[in-house]
């Protein structure tokens, strides 16, 4: 989770597995949201492992869909939209997408999510349940007990609450049969606050439940039928609110009502026997679960009363810090860092554990409850060895939400006694908890300005990363780490990845590889590393914080995250990067000259780069980058010259280099990055010649053939690169053909660049074409003698 102090070693191993941090200059583009697909709803929103269902996605910008990405493994096959008579796709089809979704046979039961990449973006997440119960769709006429919709258990009903009414379902029961009814709403991103009532055939209320503990407003109940006959299940929103955002998934069957498992956390790759906890778990045998191998993994496990019975789901988290399971009396001290696991078995219980400290140690205790499905709200009290209170977190009071971390300084070396209670004096087997024990209150939190990124293949995106520092003032280096610690494909590059000392933000730029399939999706962590006072700190960036005063996030799933029990870690702690297709060309660039000259000694020159709009409505200025320049050479681009004319704009570029450049020819790439209608495009001019030239050039030209015995003018043109302090240029004429004469030497004045001399041909001069004559030129540039020679001058002697 964002904002928590992380153990430095946690990521060091990952970096060792394959660093993906490469500092190369890249054109950076902002994270793209405009034109991104938005999916508001999928129907059905649940399916069984191995099942193929026809799914309908509703939302916006759903054209050019690629394959759905799912967290649980699935294949997609979209139906092509039907073009109209005019051959165009109607607007309506942009809002709906139909296809077949085949769930992987080994898909883990429980809450997953999916995303839709399209040619123009990546959708937000949408929750999807992998559930082994067959899905039944609500009949909208079930608004009264008399019209209750018949359902054969086990089943899951998918429905939507309607304003001002309830939905009724009828289940036939045999005497002595048990039934569990569980409403999923808030836990799958719905705005519905469900209420369940169980009625007998006469409408008499048998059970009522609202807001089951720790289920984010969802509720569930279990009932044993005293006699044969129907039971009526009523479900509605607590406030009678309805609408498309108030959907529900109502599970009906004989399954345990599980909240969590204990222990809820295991070491990476470790196998643990866990016990399901919740409201109806009696008779559920301990489950053996093998945790994921990476530090932040999560393993889902089905929980059922007996083989063949319908399952509920629970999960085990992976945590790579040492784990201690509390057992009273806890008389063996733990040392930071570690995670202490425990349960508040009954109301009013107070657990204790000991921490070994040194004098002035700063210790932070971070409760872990809701994230593991526990309804507990932890009160933490710290006493010294003599029972003297040191600190507690019960004065958090107004404003703070959820569990409050507690940081305290050990006043003296020795043992500190930590007491753990439920803040509201509650308890029960479901009140499981973990407490991260870490040393130092220092650290930092990172927040990203976007929750997902799309970059064209071979393109890039940028994202602002903001740091909230807590006593760590040094530079923070940002890295990308794949969510399961596997190496990312080569080609992911970062730059501007350092939040400078004392600063709080940077615009991180990330390039995506060009050789991965379009639509590839990677979940990465953006991890910051820093050190202070010999200690190392790290933290993973979280998504943008939701400002309660502002509009809720557009994506219902992201909006629901903050209140969900056991929110998917992949959503909370990682960012998806979708490699999109190549962006369409909407502009081009060209050099107005064949290459770029950089004069030695003078060390600077300028040239013009012209941007042309291919799409006439593109009116942006591309961001220019010059890649592969020789050491010491740099190019800066200025603003457009002369404004935009017919979609064309000229950038004045200035090339500079050191005085001692050795003349020669190099090449470099010009990369121009533009953004248009939400798409990004990079245009590259590859292998642009860069000529290191002398700061003086001389050339001569004879206007027309010279007749034997006749005369002709030779125009000498000098090109100076030192315009600040021009010096006279001494020009000498050399290697003229026999019989052709002219002045031996000509001086071009400092303020001039041209000289005209007269050539004379003897009458006996041989006729023909000659390319032997050259001009030598000598001058001084910045105090240095510069001598150059012209290219051969073409001379023709003819009558």
């Amino acid at each position: 989770m964002m904002g928590n102090l992380r153990l430095p070693r946690r990521f060091s191993s990952l970096i060792g597995m394959g660093s993906i941090l490469v500092l190369l200059p890249l054109a950076a583009l902002p994270a793209v949201r405009a034109q991104s697909p938005e999916i508001d709803r999928i129907s059905p929103m649940a399916a069984r492992p191995g099942e193929t269902v026809t799914v309908t996605l509703q939302g916006k910008n759903l054209l050019q869909p690629q394959l759905l990405w799912t967290s649980f493994g699935a294949k997609t096959e979209w139906e092509a939209p039907t073009p109209g008579k005019d051959g165009k796709i109607s607007k309506r089809d942009e809002k709906k997408l139909v296809g077949k979704l085949t769930i992987a046979g080994d898909a883990p039961l429980g809450l997953g999510f999916l995303r839709l990449p399209t040619a123009t973006g990546l959708s937000g997440p949408l929750f999807f349940l992998v559930d082994e119960l067959p899905v039944v769709t609500k009949n909208p006429r079930n608004a009264s007990a008399g019209n209750a919709q018949a359902v054969t258990a086990p089943a899951a009903v998918e429905g939507q609450a309607d304003t001002g009414r309830s939905d009724f379902y009828r289940v036939e029961m045999k005497a002595g049969e048990n039934i569990s009814v569980e409403a999923f709403a808030g836990r799958i991103g719905s705005k519905m606050d469900p209420v369940l009532r169980l009625l007998d055939a006469n409408g008499k209320e048998l059970a009522f439940v609202d807001d089951t503990l720790g289920l984010a407003g969802d509720c569930r109940l279990r009932y044993r039928a005293p006699a044969d006959g129907p039971l009526i299940i009523e479900i509605r929103d607590a406030s009678f609110t309805g609408g498309a955002e108030c959907f529900y998934h109502l599970r009906i069957g004989d399954f345990p009502l599980v909240s969590a498992v204990f222990p809820p956390v295991a070491a990476p790759g470790g196998t643990v026997d866990v016990q399901a906890v919740g409201e109806a778990v009696e008779g559920v045998a301990p489950l053996r679960v093998t945790a994921r191998t990476w530090a932040t993994g999560i393993e889902s496990t089905p929980v059922r009363f007996a083989p063949g019975k319908p399952a509920a789901f629970a999960s085990v988290r992976t945590d790579d810090s040492p784990l201690y399971t509390g057992k009273e009396p806890n008389d063996t001290p733990v040392t930071a860092p570690c995670t202490v696991l425990g349960r508040i078995h009954k109301a009013g219980d107070r657990n204790t554990f000991l921490i070994a400290t040194k004098k002035d140690d700063l210790i932070t205790l971070t409760p872990l409850t809701r994230d593991i499905g526990s309804p507990a709200l932890l009160y933490l009290g710290v006493n010294d060895e003599n029972g003297k209170p040191i600190a507690s977190n019960d004065n958090a009071g107004n404003g703070a939400s959820n569990d409050m971390p507690l940081t305290f300084r050990a006043p003296a070396g020795g043992i500190c006694r930590i007491s753990v209670e439920d803040m509201a004096h509650r308890g029960g087997d479901a009140f499981v908890y973990g407490i991260h024990v870490e040393q130092s209150a220092q650290g930092f939190d990172l927040t990203a300005s976007a929750d997902r990124f799309l970059a064209p293949r071979g393109g890039s995106f940028s994202v602002k990363i903001t740091a909230q520092r807590r006593g760590v003032n040094g530079p923070i280096t940002l890295e990308l780490v794949s969510e399961d610690a596997s190496p990312l494909p080569p080609g992911f590059h970062c730059e501007q990845n350092i939040i400078e000392k004392g600063k709080n933000e940077t615009q991180l730029r990330v390039a995506t590889p060009a050789d991965v399939p379009s639509g590839s999706l990677y979940h990465v962590r953006i991890v910051g590393l820093a050190s202070e006072g010999g200690l190392q700190f790290d933290a993973a960036a979280g998504p943008p914080k939701v400002d309660p005063k502002k509009k809720a996030p557009k994506d219902p799933a992201m909006a629901a995250l903050s209140s969900m029990p056991q929110p998917p870690r992949l959503l909370c702690e990682t960012f998806p990067i979708c490699v999109g297709p190549d962006a369409p060309d909407f502009f081009s660039i060209e050099l107005t000259t064949g290459g770029v000259d950089l004069p030695a000694i003078v060390g600077k020159n300028s040239f013009v780069l012209r941007q042309k709009s291919i799409d006439p409505s593109y009116a942006g200025d591309a961001q220019l980058k010059f890649v592969g320049l020789p050491p010491g050479v740099a190019i800066t681009s200025g603003t457009g010259r002369g404004g935009r004319i017919k979609g064309q704009v000229d950038f004045i570029c200035e090339v500079t280099g050191p005085a001692d450049l050795v003349p020669g020819i190099h090449s470099f790439d010009i990369v121009a990055a533009g953004e248009f209608k939400g798409a990004q495009k990079e245009v590259r001019l590859a292998k642009v010649p860069l000529r290191i030239v002398m700061p003086l050039a001389i050339a001569g030209a004879v206007e027309s053939p010279i007749a034997p015995g006749g005369k002709q003018t030779l125009k000498i043109t000098a090109a100076r690169f030192d315009t600040e302090d021009p010096q006279p240029i001494d020009v000498t004429l050399r290697h003229f053909p026999s019989g052709i004469t002219g002045p031996e030497k000509v001086t071009i004045a400092p303020g001039d660049t041209v000289a005209v001399v007269e050539l004379a041909a003897e009458s006996g001069a041989a006729e023909g074409r000659f390319d032997t004559a050259v001009l030598g030129a000598a001058t001084r540039v910045k105090g240095m003698d510069v001598v150059v020679e012209s290219s051969p001058i073409h001379l023709e002697v003819a009558k």
């Binding site: 209420v195 609202d210 407003g217 929103d237 607590a238 009678f240 107004n398 509650r426 209140s563």
Partner: protein, 826 residues
């Protein structure tokens, strides 16, 4: 909440001013006194049994009571003869004994042949009495109203002179009186020139008027205190432990006996006593029934019971007097009592010579009990069934049936919603539904009231997951929590005591913060869901009395300061105390509230103002109801059933000549306008056109709403409260022009009646019912009775004259909805 507290404080200050004015003793002419018919008492009692006058300023009031063979008692103080022997030791002025010189004497009291001798011992006359700052100076200032809320005891004082209200803060008064040089009030070299004396004597302009005369005891106290150098009481000075009133705390007088002299004694920690009759302050709970002057002389002027409160600094005691007059032509007759309710009510009525009204008709009962129990009118078939039932126990059976209905639980949950301030503003939109659902459940399951209270007081966690935790969610801080708990469960308005000792009651500022200590650790924090709040009790946190700076331990009335473990759950401890069957407040407050809901007036009225100075109209009835409540393990339905089955509840609302002026003794039923929600439901029911409230299912009655409906002009006009305070007074029942307009010409009524009188009448028309049948059904639906022949004839004539039958029926329905009989519960 805050503004309500302020309003209450202002009202009480104003009341203080009234109290002061009454004690000003000059404006009102004294009531006419009837000559005492001494008759032949069997014996007399004289109080005190012995008189000790130990300083020159001590005086002793003598009170003489006569006891008669028929059980009557009357005050003979002003009829008795007093002689002192030997003379020169003391003297007597009226019934007041004053010292003259050291020595012993005997006071002989004679009346109607009875005689009693009282020893008198006078001492300490050779030296001046050292005036106690607290019990002399401040008592004198209090007696004269100088430090009352309307004068210098107001928060900002008056004319630049501010004292603590009724001397609740003697330390600050010390400074004000003696150290405030800028406004020097004491003139040591010339005490009689002190402004402290000259102003109230109007020798210098005083906006408060004449308050002090030279022959007042207060003048002597103040002058002596200044002359003695304005000394303060030494730290080990005896402390006042209480005051005592003679005669007994309850007494009944039969006209022409109608007066009673009081004698008030202060008791101190060293065992000493002092007569403070002339220094104490007096007030009557029923000014129209009894008055009391500054000397403690009570005069009854009417029939009924009055409480006379006596205050000396922060000590308050109350005695109760019932005045009975024979009414010409009165002959007791009453329906057979149905239960103990009637016994107690009838006993009081008989005593006061009020004749109870006849039992109401079945039609009246049906409409009344439906409205009171379910908030709704009966349906036509229910009315017909009940009226056609000839069984003797049909009323009792109907009561049982109604108490089992879901509408009953929803309606009474709605009533509690007012009290608990259930609204989106206080508990968020989702919270209103959850909290209301919990209340409905509590009533459906008849959750015992002690458990009900305990759940509200101890619920912790998410207020969405534990709806009773919304109880404290509606409060923002300790003060609000303390005041709300006191108002709801103790029937006490504590707002005044936040800043100073309560002016009318025993509640001190220390008590306020001591009670607040139970709630100081309450914490409120945001939950993970939008608008979710988590309520919990912190393990630490103490409350400090702002005036004294003392960290206050938890304190409860009657129990004093509780010794609790440092990390004890104080909310649980408070609940234990509150719901203890021996708690004198808990059961009484709730049965009184239930009584008020059914009878329209509390036995204690207002229902959230239980205090000694506001006695119950029928203490025996209140005690009996409370006893049944406790004995039944706080079964609210049982109390409801008891009251509903009583003849008192089933009395007609038509008064008879012998109870026409009775408003307090429940001799007849009260006619009350339906509440806003009841009336709108009734309109909807009679027209067959339901109202839509937000997202709630169409047809949800207004009397079952989880929260007030913003923007419903009809409900607002008829006084729907916004639930901003826990005071029942927030619901307005005063008639207004807006109400008349709403009924006669509003969209709410008019649109429902359009097209032939609404769905209800259209349905009857469609069934081809005759005019008489339709009119009959209309009357049954709206008034629970058949139309009288004259009403039927008028309706027939109107329909015939109008020709357009649908329009005529619409008009008739409109006229029925505008009948007083429809708008009122009677």
């Amino acid at each position: 909440m805050k503004s309500t507290s302020r309003l209450l404080c202002i009202l009480l200050f104003a009341a203080c001013a009234t109290l002061r004015a009454e004690q000003g003793e000059t404006e009102k002419p004294p009531p006419k006194l009837e000559p005492i018919r001494i008759g032949a008492p069997q014996r007399i009692e004289v109080s005190p049994a012995a008189i000790k006058l130990e300083t020159p300023l001590r005086k002793t009031q003598v009170v003489v009571s006569g006891f008669y063979a028929d059980g009557r008692v009357q005050d003979l103080t002003r009829a008795a003869e007093y002689t002192l022997s030997p003379q020169g030791v003391a003297k007597i002025e009226g019934a007041l004994v004053l010292p003259v010189a050291d020595g012993r004497a005997e006071l002989t009291v004679r009346v109607a042949g009875c005689e009693q001798r009282i020893p008198v011992e006078v001492s300490g006359q050779g030296a001046p009495e050292i005036i106690s700052f607290r019990y002399g100076t401040l008592a004198a200032l209090s007696k004269n109203g100088c430090n009352s809320g309307g004068c210098h005891g107001a928060p900002s004082g008056k004319g630049g002179f501010a004292m603590s209200m009724i001397a609740f803060d003697p330390e600050s008064d010390k400074i004000t009186l003696t150290r405030d040089f800028l406004n020097r009030r004491i003139n040591m070299p010339d005490p009689e020139s002190s402004l402290l004396l000259r102003k109230p004597m109007m020798q210098v302009a005083h906006r408060g008027g004449l308050k002090l005369r030279k022959d007042d005891e207060a003048y002597r106290q103040l002058l002596d205190w200044i002359q003695q150098g304005c000394k303060f009481d030494p730290p080990d000075a005896p402390r006042l432990t209480g005051i005592h009133i003679d005669p007994a705390l309850r007494r009944t007088f039969e006209w022409p006996a109608h007066t009673q002299q009081l004698r008030v004694t202060a008791r101190f920690s060293d065992g000493s006593e002092r007569d403070i009759t002339r220094l104490a302050m007096y007030s009557s709970s029923e000014d129209g029934l009894a008055t009391v002057n500054g000397n403690g002389f009570v005069v009854g002027t009417g029939r009924g019971q009055a409480g006379i409160s006596v205050r000396f600094l922060d000590n308050v005691e109350t005695c109760y007097f019932t005045f009975v007059r024979a009414v010409p032509g009165f002959a007791w007759q009453a329906p057979a009592p149905a239960n103990y309710v009637d016994d107690h009510v009838f006993a009081k009525l008989k005593l006061l010579q009020y004749l109870p009204s006849d039992t109401c008709t079945d039609e009246e009962f049906l409409r009344r009990v439906f409205l009171d129990v379910t908030g709704l009118l009966p349906k036509i078939d229910e009315t017909r069934a009940f009226l056609g039932d000839t069984a003797a126990d049909k009323r009792a059976r109907l009561i049982d049936a109604l108490l089992s209905r879901p509408e009953f639980a929803r309606f009474w949950a709605f009533k509690w919603g007012d009290l608990l301030r259930v609204s989106p503003a206080t508990v968020a939109e989702a919270g209103t539904h959850k909290y209301n659902a919990w209340l409905v459940k509590a009533w459906e399951e008849n959750l015992p009231y002690d458990r009900f209270a305990r759940e509200l007081l101890t619920a912790q966690g998410s207020a969405f997951e534990y709806p009773p935790a919304n109880f404290f969610r509606t409060t923002a801080n300790t003060s609000e929590a303390t005041e709300m708990v006191a108002q709801i469960f103790l029937g006490a308005r504590l707002q005044c005591a936040r800043c100073h000792n309560h002016p009318f009651e025993r509640w001190t500022q220390d008590n306020y913060y001591g009670l607040g200590a139970f709630f100081e650790r309450l914490q409120r924090k945001k939950g993970p869901r939008p608008d979710e709040t988590i309520i919990f009790s912190a393990r630490h946190g103490e409350i400090t009395q702002p005036r004294t700076g003392r960290q206050m331990p938890p304190w409860a009335p009657g129990a004093g300061e509780l010794k609790l473990a440092p990390d004890a759950d104080r909310l649980a401890a408070f609940s234990d105390w509150l719901t203890n069957p021996a708690n004198p407040y808990f059961a009484r407050v709730e049965v009184n509230r239930i009584w008020w809901q059914l009878m329209g007036r509390g036995i204690v009225e207002p229902i959230d103002d239980f205090r000694e100075s506001n006695p119950p109209a029928n203490p025996e009835l209140l005690d009996a109801l409370a006893k049944e409540f406790v004995d039944s393990k706080f079964d609210r339905k049982r109390i409801l059933r008891t009251i509903l089955n009583s003849r008192t509840y089933q009395a007609s609302s038509r008064p008879n000549p012998f109870n026409r002026d009775d408003e307090k003794n429940f001799s007849h039923a009260r006619q009350q306008m339906l509440t806003a929600e009841q009336l709108l439901d009734a309109v909807c029911q009679v027209t067959g056109e339901p109202e839509r409230y937000g997202n709630l299912p169409l047809g949800t009655p207004a009397t079952q709403l989880p929260a007030p409906q913003p923007g419903n002009a009809f409900l607002v006009a008829f006084g729907e409260p916004t639930r901003q305070s826990s005071c029942a007074c927030e619901r307005q029942s005063q008639p207004s022009l807006a109400q008349a307009l709403q009924l006669s010409n509003s969209q709410t009524v008019e649109t429902r009646l359009r097209n032939g009188g609404g769905q209800f009448i259209r349905g009857l028309t469609a069934q081809k019912k005759s005019d008489d049948e339709i009119i009959g059904d209309l009357y049954l639906a709206a008034l629970c009775r058949n139309p009288r022949e004259i009403e039927l004839k008028k309706a027939r004539d109107y329909i015939a004259a109008r020709q357009d039958r649908a329009a005529a029926l619409e008009d008739i329905a409109w006229s029925v909805l505008n009948l007083r009989e429809f708008v009122f519960r009677h």
